[in-house]
């Protein structure tokens, strides 16, 4: 028998009070661990997900953060459209493209989704799998390969679509109009991320049907004509890429109901929107949500910055700058929440003090008996402080455990809402320190009642009958 056995037994004897007191420790620890976990994994997720996204051209009306969050992290709605001309300029051997020495400029358009998880659909070209680099290497396929819709095919289709659109705007007879390009059967292929495949149980050869908007929301509808066969499943990147469906941009542009929104009409002074809509348009006015680009050297960003600084419709967002700023803001919020968690922990510590202190009167005889057997005051102090410490230790362990259980339970939901993947199974060193810290706080909380207990008068309290 050891002193700790006595502490444990005393906790067991007052099981209800012990459990109730422990609950506050559990909640406080779980809250604190949850906040730290979210903050840490958000940081890891966001920093780790920047990957190959060096620069993103997005609409001018949005903030850089909105552009980055939507393009890289699938958070929120697409903040607006930029003209395809931006992509053309970046890719051309002249002007911006030449001066900034862009390695690639990959057009993207989004707005559709699939499944109840609302996995976003990103319409793009095959360069996303051949030129785009995720952590200095092309995206790896776990199965299959990329779809075959190239930038050249996009341009060819865009020319046809523009010709048709201009004829329509000019109100040329339907029979005399150039034909609207058809949605080619060979384009109806898509590549899905690892998480999409895992959670929806999809495999190569399966067919997914994009939904306009988000599943279940007002106005959303299926696009069966754009159903695509899965030709590639990406290996896990532990980033939002895992939750994305990539399909050819041609499908996106030709999808039923997208006719009115494909071309981005400029604001022309003195003309109403209706008048502008009847004006001729061009391939460069096709709307995109973003262009992923990558300057070749350190001068590239400076040149891009200067070129887009005064662009009327587009801006360039730099994930490497935006994300750390964003994380600092998240860090501040996490710090504020951590203060609340500490306050809860403080209240829990006070509840330990009160709970044990209140038992001291009924335990005077028990303490007197131990003293009569030779127990020193220090040993009584140790037993009672040990009770508080053990109670806190168990509470802290349960709290950390609860945090992991909650992370497991809400993993999918949190990833859907925030794009953050909660790794519930990962044990972290700070969890150990948290458990030690909470145990220490508990021991301190037990010190006042322990002092009271150790001061118990032996002779006076031995005489009572049991």
């Amino acid at each position: 028998m050891r002193l700790v056995s006595i502490s444990l037994r005393n906790l067991r004897v007052r099981l209800v009070a012990t459990v109730l007191t422990m609950m506050s420790i559990v909640v406080a620890t779980a809250l604190y661990a949850g906040i730290l976990t979210m903050a840490e994994q958000t940081k890891a997720r966001y920093e780790g997900s920047i990957g190959g996204y060096q620069a993103i051209a997005g609409p001018n009306g949005a903030s850089e953060l909105e552009v980055v969050l939507n393009t890289i992290f699938n958070v929120g709605e697409a903040p607006g459209l930029i003209p395809f001309a931006v992509c053309q300029k970046l890719r051309s051997g002249r002007g911006i493209g030449r001066r900034s020495q862009v390695r690639f400029a990959i057009p993207q358009a989004r707005g559709d989704s699939i499944s109840r998880f609302n996995y976003p659909v990103v319409a793009t070209v095959d360069e996303m799998f051949t030129k785009f680099e995720w952590k200095r290497a092309p995206l790896v396929f776990a199965a299959g390969g990329p779809f075959t819709f190239s930038y050249g095919q996009l341009m060819e289709m865009a020319e046809q679509l523009t010709a048709y659109e201009n004829a329509r705007r000019a109100e040329v007879d339907v029979d005399a109009r150039p034909p609207r390009p058809l949605l080619q059967k060979q384009w109806r292929e898509c590549v899905i991320g690892a998480r999409v495949a895992r959670t929806l149980g999809l495999k190569l050869g399966d067919v997914v049907t994009p939904v306009h908007g988000k599943v279940g929301e007002f106005g959303s509808h299926d696009h069966p004509e754009a159903s695509c066969e899965i030709v590639g499943i990406l290996a896990s990147t532990n980033s939002p890429i895992d939750s994305t469906i990539y399909l050819p941009l041609g499908i996106h542009l030709l999808i039923d109901g997208h006719e009115q929104g494909v071309f981005l009409d400029p604001q022309v002074p003195g003309k109403s929107p209706a008048q502008v809509e009847s004006m001729p348009t061009s391939v460069g006015r096709i709307g995109l949500t973003a262009v992923i680009t990558d300057p070749k050297d350190h001068m590239g960003p400076q040149i891009l910055r200067r070129e887009f600084g005064s662009h009327p419709e587009a801006q360039v967002a730099w994930p490497q700058e935006v994300v750390p700023k964003f994380l600092r803001q998240i860090g501040n919020a996490a710090d504020a929440l951590a203060v609340i968690a500490w306050l809860v922990l403080f209240v829990a510590a006070v509840s330990i003090t009160v709970a044990i202190y209140n038992t001291m009167n009924e335990r005077r005889r028990e303490i007197a008996i131990m003293r009569s057997l030779g127990a020193r005051r220090a040993q009584i102090l140790t037993i009672i402080t040990g009770e508080a410490a053990l109670l806190s230790l168990f509470g802290a362990l349960l709290g950390v455990g609860l945090c992991h259980v909650a992370a497991y339970a809400f993993q999918e939901h949190v990833e859907d809402v925030t794009g953050v993947f909660l790794d519930w199974a990962q044990l972290r060193v700070w969890e150990l320190w948290l458990v030690f810290g909470v145990t220490g706080i508990g021991a301190v909380a037990g010190f006042a009642p322990a002092v009271k207990g150790s001061m118990t008068q032996v002779a006076d309290n031995l005489a009572q009958n049991y």
Binding site: R9, I369, M370, S372, L373, G374, R377, A459, N465, Y466
Partner: protein, 224 residues
């Protein structure tokens, strides 16, 4: 074994000091079995607590098992009590949440520390007093006689030189009390332990080697 000289102990009751115990001189030899008797209020239990080092005398010499308790600090007296003195109380004073074995082991823990063989010794003692099948029972699950035997085992677990008993038969019928006293005295005789027992019961006192009336220990000066 015990030497008391000019010992007195008073309690404060409001503005007044009440003399609880006064002993001009008391000597007990090693291995002796002594009954302390006296009317209620003569300070028998107070004297027992002074001998145990639970209370500190206001004045006088208190030498017990080779130590001047009146010269020791509280922690040293606690240690001395744990190592050299076994105590049996009228109310047994077993700790209810703990089993018989654990109650005995607690005596070892606070006496000589959590030594490796404490459990073996405790089990042997409990077997010796006929509680082999009750070791893991809590006090509430034991009869009065069994509880008292556990208390005796706890008093003997550290192999103390001195056993102090405070009205050990007070709560029992004469037959049960007699058996327990028989057991205690048998063990004490076998192991040559000094026993000091406070009792009201003349029959129990007669079974001890010597009876000391506390009133006779009180000096004239103290008595007044």
């Amino acid at each position: 074994m015990i030497h008391l000289q000019g010992v007195s102990k008073s309690y404060s009751r409001g503005e007044h000091a009440v003399l609880a115990c006064a002993v001009d001189r008391l000597d007990v030899e090693a291995g002796e079995q002594v009954a302390l008797v006296g009317r209620s209020g003569t300070g028998k239990t107070t004297l027992l607590h002074i001998l145990a080092g639970i209370l500190c005398a206001d004045a006088g010499e208190v030498a017990v098992v080779g130590e001047r308790l009146d010269q020791l600090g509280e922690a040293a007296r606690d240690r001395h009590r744990g190592r050299h003195i076994g105590m049996v109380y009228q109310t047994f004073n077993l700790l209810q949440p703990f089993t018989a074995l654990e109650n005995v082991l607690m005596g070892a823990l606070f006496g000589r520390g959590a030594a490796g063989d404490a459990r073996d010794r405790a089990e042997a003692l409990l077997r010796e007093v006929g509680l082999a099948d009750r070791m893991h029972h809590r006090p509430a699950e034991l009869s009065v006689g069994q509880v008292q035997r556990v208390a005796i085992c706890r008093a003997l677990i550290n192999d103390p030189e001195l056993v102090l008993m405070d009205e050990p038969l007070g709560n029992q019928d004469r037959a049960t009390g007699g058996q327990v006293l028989d057991l205690m005295l048998k063990i004490a005789s076998e192991q040559k332990k000094t026993v000091v027992m406070v009792t009201h019961d003349p029959a129990s006192a007669e079974r001890m080697q010597r009876t000391v009336d506390l009133a006779t220990l009180r000096g004239q000066e103290a008595a007044t």
